[in-house]
């Protein structure tokens, strides 16, 4: 875990801080609600919650512009909300309903929005890395200045195809930011037990790819690093690697008892490093938001999440005819 930098006085407006706070809180509350719905049997199968990692996607969304693409693994709810996808459509996909982004046919791990440039939602660990490089290849081929954020975890960072993608991305100067979300556990295997070299971002040096380690619990640090990476890519100097040191509070999936780490470790992280608390503190100490302002945001977020949950329960299951559609186009 990267050492926490002293808070100092960030060069950031109150509006921006409120925006990040709101976006991170939306993800947190959405995921908590998803966990509840899972417990009620309304969400099935695998469900991987993003709680604790919110600063990564919100910070990078703040560093991107319209047209930039995102692709990630199966822990994808936060990424979708950060791109501005509708919480109703995401939640209804979790419940497998017609109103979901994939009409209920993809589920928690497989959602997409071409409109928001979100390309999934992939269930095979590491596969999204060359796929993301391919999205960047298309942008470079077409001659636009879009950048693709390709997210993967510390577990995927050991997959061979990640390095095949690194090599070609650097060989062809693809505008792709490889974002390693190092939450320190690949399911139940800590990075210490799986990776000989602890600094995953440094592996890009073998291909001449620039990169850095970032405090992924600090949305402002994430944004600053993201801006640097994006600028390099837009200048034709991609790719770029950002290793986000982060932490997931929940298990790998809903069915994970998380016996591979202590309660104390999780508790310590929540108390000392929480990305949302951190921004709340900046908002209050900086005089950007009163307690009432924060309460109003909480209330608004709660309403959005409740609405999404209601929608996801009310939306009907897909018509049985949908079994046979979308196999070919």
């Amino acid at each position: 875990m990267a050492a926490r930098k002293p808070a100092g006085k960030p060069n950031i407006s109150g509006d921006d801080l409120r925006k990040y706070y709101r976006e991170m809180l939306l993800i947190r509350r959405f995921e908590e609600k998803a966990g509840q719905l899972y417990g009620m049997g309304l969400i099935g199968g695998f469900c991987h919650l993003y709680i604790g990692q919110e600063a990564v996607v919100v910070g990078l969304a703040a560093a991107s512009k319209d047209g930039d693409k995102q692709i990630t693994s199966y822990r994808d709810h936060g990424h979708m909300l950060a791109t501005g996808m509708d919480p109703k459509g995401v939640m209804a996909e979790l419940t497998g309903r017609e109103g979901g982004y994939s009409k209920g046919k993809g589920g928690s791990m497989h959602m997409f929005s071409r409109e928001k440039h979100f390309y999934g939602g992939h269930g095979i660990v590491g596969a999204q890395v060359p796929l993301g490089a391919g999205l960047a290849f298309a942008d470079k081929y077409k001659g636009n200045d879009s950048v693709t954020f390709t997210y993967f975890g510390d577990g995927a960072a050991n997959q061979g195809q990640v390095y095949e993608a690194y090599n070609m991305a650097q060989l062809w100067n693809l505008p792709v930011v490889f974002v390693i979300e190092n939450n320190q556990y690949a399911m139940g295997t800590s990075t210490k037990r799986s990776s000989k070299s602890p600094n995953l971002w440094e592996r890009g040096a073998a291909y001449g790819i620039k990169g850095e380690m970032v405090d992924g619990m600090d949305v402002l640090a994430v944004k600053a690093a993201g801006e640097k990476a994006v600028a390099a890519c837009r200048a034709g100097d991609g790719p770029y690697i950002l290793e986000m040191m982060t932490y997931r509070y929940r298990g790998h999936s809903m069915s994970d008892p998380a016996k591979y780490r202590t309660r104390e470790e999780v508790q310590k992280m929540r108390e000392e490093r929480d990305p949302i608390d951190r921004v709340r503190e900046l908002l209050t100490t900086g005089g950007h938001a009163s307690d009432d302002d924060l309460k109003a945001i909480d209330k608004e977020i709660k309403a959005i999440v409740n609405e999404a949950a209601e929608f996801s329960k009310d939306s009907p299951e897909p018509d049985v005819s949908e079994l046979w559609t979308d196999v070919y186009t």
Binding site: G134, L135, Q161, A165
Partner: protein, 477 residues
């Protein structure tokens, strides 16, 4: 061994070399020595043009070039044909005759081992060229894929594939080719020869040897709005990337509720070539045809290769396009039309008949057509269906034929268990059971990894003799 010793103190014949696993003949492009020249081992004697490349041919012995037997520029020089005579010290040109007469073909000893094979062909995979082409021309396809009177041009499958790619790349800037050695090397099998010159490195992209990586990049590029053609040097190497074909390319349209089409072609040689052993000799038709979301095409003729590849490139779905190295060099008539395409999912009746239905695809058509010709000599008229597309399969054409002939034999090179023939059989049993007068026979490659030894390889492949035997069985003759 390209050098044949005529005997003690006699001239040595230099034979036309086989410079690739599938080479049967080549062009003697250029002599770099002349009669009377002294050469030592390692000196370049000639340039020989194969179907894949122009290669330099070296001397392995020292001596004097006594006679050049084949003039430069000669095309179609068969492998093992004497092309020059090398004289050792003290020999004269008078010894040349003795050498030529005494020499026996090198291949003779290799062939001896194959005599146990039930099929007397020298090479079941590659010697049926002439009869197969003849059969195609003799057949009367009820519905050709082009208008009557269309001018035809003979071209190889290789040229047809290249034309298809070039035409589609000219028509659509989003079409590009990527793969190992597709650019500067001009294609490992020369399919992409000349494309780099015409389209440049932006659109003809040489990749490192990283199938999983570049296939994933191809699929991502398709989602990003391009139409990639991903070449596998052989489909055996697609095993490194099969996750991206199936989990990424084939399933995402469905998983996205229809939002994410993936217009991509995966193409390259598939199936057994010749003498390249188990890891390079496997047919993936049945494998990929198992997957909803993929289309699987496997052409036999040059016209189909061209027309189907153009359709595959335009198709909004991922298409697995299975070629065959042995077929690359075979010539067929191709219609000279401005924009000739063949629809995916339509079988072709290559030969009409009434007594038995033979269904095959790809190189299997060679055996099916050759068997049909031989059966006709014995009064059995076989209807031969070239499936062309394995998925979606044109089962209607098969069923209609079986309802007429009441007998069915399928022919393919893949392994027997869960074969394409097995699937066809299940369809016929479910939908035309009452029409069958005999159990269906599925002819496949043998249920063993491909052996290297020439005699065993012949035994492992399906043969024309096996087709004839199977037809006699289902017709009770």
């Amino acid at each position: 061994m390209y050098i044949r010793e005529g005997g003690y103190a006699m001239a040595t014949e230099i034979l036309m070399p086989a410079l690739s696993p599938t080479m049967e003949e080549g062009t003697l492009a250029k002599w770099l020595v002349k009669e009377g020249d002294t050469v030592s081992a390692g000196d370049i004697l000639a340039e020989i043009e194969t179907d894949k490349a122009t290669m330099e041919f070296e001397a392995v012995d020292e001596g004097t070039v006594g006679k050049l037997l084949v003039a430069e520029g000669t095309e179609g020089v068969k492998v093992n044909t004497p092309i020059a005579v090398l004289l050792e010290e003290g020999e004269s040109a008078d010894d040349i005759g003795k050498a030529a007469k005494k020499a026996q073909p090198e291949a003779a000893s290799a062939d001896a081992g194959a005599e146990a094979a039930p099929e007397p062909q020298a090479n079941g995979a590659s010697e049926a060229t002439a009869p197969a082409v003849a059969a195609i021309r003799a057949a009367e396809p009820p519905k050709p894929d082009w208008p009557e009177g269309t001018p035809m041009k003979s071209m190889t499958v290789r040229e047809a594939l290249r034309e298809a790619m070039a035409e589609e790349m000219r028509a659509d800037d989003t079409v590009f080719l990527m793969g190992e050695e597709v650019g500067e090397y001009q294609g490992a099998y020369k399919i992409s020869q000349g494309l780099l010159d015409e389209f440049g490195a932006r659109r003809v992209v040489d990749t490192p040897i990283t199938e999983a990586g570049f296939t994933g990049i191809g699929v991502g590029a398709a989602w990003g709005g391009l139409r990639p053609i991903v070449e596998f040097m052989t489909f055996n190497f697609s095993m490194q990337a099969i996750d991206h074909l199936i989990n990424s390319a084939a399933k995402t349209l469905y998983m996205s509720g229809g939002q994410m089409p993936c217009p991509i072609v995966f193409r390259g040689p598939n199936g057994a070539a010749a003498r390249v052993a188990a890891q390079h000799s496997q047919c993936y038709a049945a494998w990929y045809s198992h997957i909803p979301g993929l289309k699987v095409v496997m052409p036999y003729s040059a016209a189909d290769a061209k027309g189907l590849l153009k359709s595959a490139i335009r198709d909004p779905n991922p298409v697995v396009f299975l070629e065959n190295e042995i077929l690359y060099g075979r010539s067929f008539d191709v219609p000279q039309l401005e924009d000739f395409t063949v629809p995916i999912g339509k079988a072709r009746i290559a030969r009409t008949g009434t007594d038995v239905t033979l269904v095959s695809f790809g190189i299997g058509m060679t055996y099916a057509l050759e068997a049909a010709e031989k059966l006709a000599e014995n009064g059995i008229e076989a209807e031969v269906i070239d499936l062309r597309t394995i998925r979606p399969m044109d089962t209607e054409t098969i069923l209609n034929s079986v309802r007429k002939t009441n007998r069915l034999v399928t022919i393919e090179e893949g392994f027997p268990q869960s074969s394409v023939g097995n699937f066809i059989t299940s369809v016929v049993m479910e939908q035309a059971f009452d029409y069958l007068d005999a159990p269906v026979i599925n002819l496949c490659g043998k249920d063993v990894p491909m052996p290297y030894a020439a005699n065993l390889e012949k035994l492992a492949l399906v043969t024309t003799a096996e087709v004839i035997e199977a037809v006699k069985k289902v017709t009770y003759r």
